[in-house]
């Protein structure tokens, strides 16, 4: 075990006659690891909230994502009033998106769409347990409904959520025979899998993180959109590089 000059050990073997062997912690003890001056981290530039990505690589039922949902709601609400100008591909309207005020006719229309935007653009999760992935998708969907309920939006007026970015990653060590078997097996948890297993959707999804995409080799299936209204869920296999 490494120990610093000022560490005080509480295990019995470090005590002699009831006193610690190491020198006690003192306020003015010299510490060569202590920075000489305060180091300030610069704020990052404001950006279009739709381009901020959060990934929980071991998301379970998406507990952290639910907390982040609250924060994203605040970020989105502020972004409309800030109406910040273009600043490159990552700024307002970055990644091929139109700026918020060109996308939405009014602030009300925008606020109504925020829960959908958070699930489709911001929150990403991976877990090895398919059941956890289902629960994660459900809990985000319910969280969105809660926001819409608070907005007093009738269910038929609520935007539909077309996808979530939660994937199930089977921790395959890369043995091809097992991988082929896994791909061939019907995914009974998630209904029928699409015919094209190499691409998750008929059109590419530009907003997924590219490196995470590279690790997710095979997308297998998504929930039937009608089975759970407004919710889709994808499953993938992660391969080690």
């Amino acid at each position: 075990m490494l120990k610093g000059k000022d560490d005080v050990f509480l295990n019995p073997e470090f005590f002699v006659d009831g006193k610690p062997v190491t020198e006690p912690l003192t306020k003015d003890a010299p510490n060569e690891n202590q920075p000489k001056s305060t180091h300030l981290l610069a704020y990052r530039r404001l950006r279009d909230p739709r381009t901020i990505k959060l990934l929980d690589p071991a998301c379970g039922s998406m507990h952290f994502g639910l907390y982040a949902f609250d924060l994203f709601e605040i970020i989105y609400a502020e972004a409309w009033d800030l109406n910040f100008p273009f600043s490159g591909s990552r700024g307002a309207g970055g990644n091929g998106l139109k700026p918020l005020r060109e996308t939405y006719a009014s602030k009300d229309a925008y606020l109504r769409d925020i829960p959908r935007l958070i699930i489709e653009h911001n929150l990403h999760g991976i877990d090895i347990d398919p059941r956890a992935v289902q629960i994660a998708g459900l809990s985000l969907w319910l969280r969105a409904q809660r926001s819409w309920q608070q907005q007093k939006l009738r269910p038929q007026d609520r935007p539909s959520i077309h996808r979530s970015n939660i994937v199930c990653a089977e921790p395959m060590p890369g043995e091809k025979a097992f991988l082929d078997e896994f791909i061939a097996a019907p995914m009974k948890h998630f209904g029928n899998r699409p015919k094209n297993v190499s691409m998750p959707r008929s059109k590419p999804m530009p907003n997924r993180p590219s490196k995470a995409e590279a690790t997710c080799a095979v997308y297998l299936s998504m929930m039937q959109p009608k089975a759970l209204p407004s919710l889709t869920c994808a499953v993938s296999v992660m391969t080690w590089r």
Binding site: L2, L41, P57, A58, F64, P173, P209, K211, A212, R241
Partner: protein
């Protein structure tokens, strides 16, 4: 993130140790290294894990080259026992900024 941690399974130990030589002793170290890889410069990684990675000498390379090399710690809380409900583990929570 609250990544799984512990030693690796026999089947995956060697291939993973090749890919993540700096983080090979524990799954949590690999999650942190891979998470940092995915981030843009200035992106943040928050994790709650076992605290042992900050103390054991076997993690020295990981601390020097990953936590302090490709990232910079922003804030850290050495939490100890009783934080994660059932898990018998001393925890630490920290936020790293990608360099």
């Amino acid at each position: 993130m609250n990544p799984p941690f512990g030693a690796l399974g026999i089947g995956v130990k060697n291939p993973l140790a090749k890919v993540y030589p700096r983080s090979k002793n524990d799954l949590l170290a690999m999650f942190v290294e891979r998470g940092l890889e995915l981030l843009r410069t200035g992106g943040r990684l928050g994790a709650i894990t076992s605290r042992t990675c900050f103390f054991l000498s076997s993690f020295q390379k990981w601390r020097e080259e990953v936590v302090l090399g490709i990232a910079e710690p922003e804030v850290m809380a050495d939490l100890g026992h009783g934080v994660m409900d059932e898990a018998m583990v001393e925890a630490a929570a920290y936020c790293l900024v990608k360099r």
